[in-house]
């Protein structure tokens, strides 16, 4: 089973860089002998599908902005959550479900298991290499959750992984 973790974000746009910070931290803590690759990606849709193609399982970590929960809140999302929307996440790329469907149609090996971790942003509009305090506090929690989840072979519940 080949697993990939993709941290998504812009490392110089405050909390938008959460996924990149998480990827870098995960690279440090994951044992080198595990069959887990950690990647960074900066744009959604096809780029993400290209990053996870060829793997059996994928975890994607990204910053989210819902405006409905407190900054730093960790949100687990399923692929179905993403499928509720058919609209592009980016004016320049496909939304992820469409990109995944294209990958499947054209014969790319798309992981059957894809899990998402999101963290609600505080500020994703100011150019900075640093996360805001609430998101910074959530970073080690997300890293621990993803690490435990991957170590469990994608079986642990997020809450258990959190503990």
């Amino acid at each position: 089973m080949r697993t990939v973790i993709v941290g998504l974000g812009n490392p110089v746009l405050s909390d938008d860089g959460l996924g990149i910070h998480a990827a870098r931290a995960l690279r440090e803590v994951l044992p080198a002998d595990e069959e887990v690759d950690v990647r960074e990606a900066y744009a959604g849709g096809l780029r993400v599908v290209e990053a996870i193609a060829g793997y059996d399982r994928a975890v994607i970590v990204d910053a989210l902005w819902s405006g409905e929960v407190k900054p730093g809140t960790i949100v687990r999302l399923s692929l179905d959550d993403l499928r509720r929307s058919r609209n592009a996440l980016s004016l320049h790329d496909l939304d992820l479900p469409t990109a995944l469907a294209l990958g499947a149609m054209t014969g790319l090996h798309v992981p059957p298991r894809i899990e998402f971790w999101g963290v609600e942003v505080g500020d994703a509009r100011t150019f900075s290499e640093f996360l805001t305090a609430p998101v910074q506090e959530s970073l080690p929690v997300v890293v621990a959750q993803v690490r435990a989840y991957v170590a469990s072979g994608f079986t642990a519940q997020a809450e258990e992984a959190c503990a």
């Binding site: 998504l8 974000g9 812009n10 490392p11 110089v12 746009l13 938008d16 990606a41 900066y42 744009a43 959604g44 849709g45 096809l46 780029r47 993400v48 290209e50 994607i60 990204d62 910053a63 989210l64 902005w65 819902s66 405006g67 999302l77 959550d81 993403l82 509720r84 929307s85 058919r86 609209n87 592009a88 996440l89 980016s90 004016l91 320049h92 790329d93 496909l94 939304d95 992820l96 479900p97 469409t98 469907a101 294209l102 990958g103 149609m105 054209t106 014969g107 790319l108 998402f116 999101g118 942003v121 994703a124 509009r125 100011t126 150019f127 900075s128």
Partner: protein
């Protein structure tokens, strides 16, 4: 006044919002196209070493990092007073052509093309690349994926890193291209040429052959007779990497031709209280509002305007298709110059002509005997203190302007990005679409959303770096408001109302 609001309510800060104000008769009075502000880029950069900028600026955008990298290294060449060796310029341009092939391919098949190949009024669930694949065949999907993959490999090979190149340095490039790499790149370029020709054939067979689409392209919906901007070489052929900036007037006469470092003498930025985005215009003509014509300083910088501003394409296949485009869509010649094409939907066709040019130019460079020269860098020894660099980004002329102290520490940073050039034309196209579909209080609902999206898409705009959003929702909501601002109706896509 009634107000219609189209607000993409996503996590994503980088997307635009459109407000449409109606008059008392229910017709469009004004449209406002807004983008949220990204703060503090200049403060983020000032105080850093100038030579860090090619890697920092390629992070400000997940869509065209290669364009920022190139404009940035060119600005550094000037700031450090060094002219790179010819091989270094060719290596830079080679990477840049691979990037162009990827970017234009993605735009045509995933974003712009579905409106034409699947149909402008098709169900949004079909009007995407999956619909294209269903209509044209699964092989086209495989080709799009394969084209992206082989060009990403080339970018990684030359640029040192996938997506965000790191190899550009003041005075040249940090590593030469080896002969085994060159062989791979040449093969990729050949396949790119075939793919570009195939894409133009699809455009012919599916789009141009259909009276419905022809009518749409040639209709007045997005017709704006503005000035056209593009970068040209010594023979006035389109060039993406280097040259002079040429602007032609709405009838095609050369208005000005200047070196990119003189941009501030020719371009001024208009500010509106309702927008964080600035609206560049031609200084000598002046800002006359969101209007077209020779009296208005509004210009556009897109694939179509690059072709309008040039006299020719520098490669044979692209030249052939360039001539066909103008023979089909153009209005003949005036004083020996082709009349520009002002039907903005023709931008999609122009983008494919550029795709072929990028592929052919990539092949020329990949087979250039000098491309594997080890002489790719001159190490700078001075700091001049001012650096201005410019390239044609896929979505318009991109300018980086840096100033530094005598140690090379930045004191000022100004960028004019591709999309900014088109801020006023985008606003004008959105307004035109709104006027077309809102008449006397009657709103054609499905058509309105899509025609406004088509207005955006033809410019391929990029509002910020934050384009990687999950969960991938970009809902549009349209609120129609009565003269007191109360919502009387809401249309939405992708979001529960």
């Amino acid at each position: 006044m009634k107000r219609i609001k189209i607000d993409p309510v996503t996590r994503l800060e980088g997307h635009g919002k459109i407000e449409i104000f109606l008059d008392d008769d229910g017709n469009v009075a004004e449209t406002y196209f807004q983008v949220p502000e990204l703060r503090g880029f200049e403060q983020f950069c000032v105080g850093r070493h100038a030579e860090d900028m090619p890697v920092i600026t390629n992070r400000i955008c997940g869509v065209c990092p290669e364009a920022h990298h190139m404009a940035s290294v060119k600005a550094l060449d000037m700031l450090f007073g060094v002219d790179p060796p010819p091989a270094a310029k060719k290596v830079r341009e080679l990477l840049y052509m691979a990037f162009y092939v990827t970017d234009h391919t993605t735009h045509f098949y995933a974003l712009g093309g579905p409106d034409f190949i699947v149909g402008p009024d098709a169900d949004p669930r079909e009007r995407n690349i999956l619909g294209v694949v269903r209509k044209v065949g699964v092989d086209i999907g495989r080709e799009v994926i394969a084209t992206r993959a082989r060009n990403h490999d080339v970018i990684r090979m030359i640029g040192g890193r996938a997506v965000h190149p790191a190899a550009g340095v003041p005075g040249g490039w940090s590593k030469p291209v080896s002969e085994p790499e060159r062989i791979v790149i040449e093969e990729a370029a050949r396949r790119n040429v075939d793919f570009a020709l195939f894409s133009l054939k699809i455009f012919h067979d599916v789009v141009l052959a259909s009276p419905v689409y022809r009518q749409l392209i040639e209709s007045g919906v997005y017709l704006h007779r503005t000035y056209s901007m593009g970068t040209v070489d010594a023979r006035n052929a389109v060039n993406f990497y280097d040259g002079m900036i040429r602007v032609v007037d709405p009838d095609g006469a050369e208005f000005v031709r200047y070196h990119p470092r003189e941009y501030a003498e020719h371009i001024e930025e208009h500010v509106e209280s309702w927008s964080y985005m600035k609206f560049p215009f031609l200084r000598r003509i002046g800002w006359k509002g969101f209007v077209d014509g020779p009296e208005s300083g509004v210009y556009a910088a897109t694939p179509l305007t690059r072709l309008n501003a040039a006299d020719r394409m520098a490669t044979p296949g692209a030249q052939e298709h360039f001539e066909e485009l103008f023979a089909t869509m153009g209005g003949g010649t005036v004083n020996g110059r082709r009349r520009p094409i002002h039907h903005r939907l023709a931008t999609h066709w122009a983008r494919l002509v550029e795709l072929l040019y990028a592929a052919e130019r990539m092949l020329e460079l990949a087979t250039d005997p000098e491309i594997t020269s080890p002489d790719v860098r001159i190490v700078p020894t001075t700091v001049k203190g001012v650096g201005i660099g410019s390239v044609e980004a896929p979505r318009g002329t991109l300018t980086h302007h840096y100033e530094s102290d005598e140690r090379g520490v930045l004191t000022k940073v100004n960028l004019i990005v591709g999309t900014t050039n088109n801020a006023a034309p985008i606003a004008m196209s959105v307004k035109r679409a709104a006027k077309e579909l809102i008449r006397n209080g009657t709103v054609i609902e499905q058509g309105l959303l899509n025609r406004i999206e088509m207005a955006f898409r033809l410019y391929d705009p990029c509002f910020s770096c934050a384009t990687h959003a999950l969960p991938g929702e970009m809902p549009l909501t349209v609120s129609i408001r009565d003269p007191r601002g109360g919502v009387i109706r809401t249309l939405a896509r992708g979001v529960p109302v």
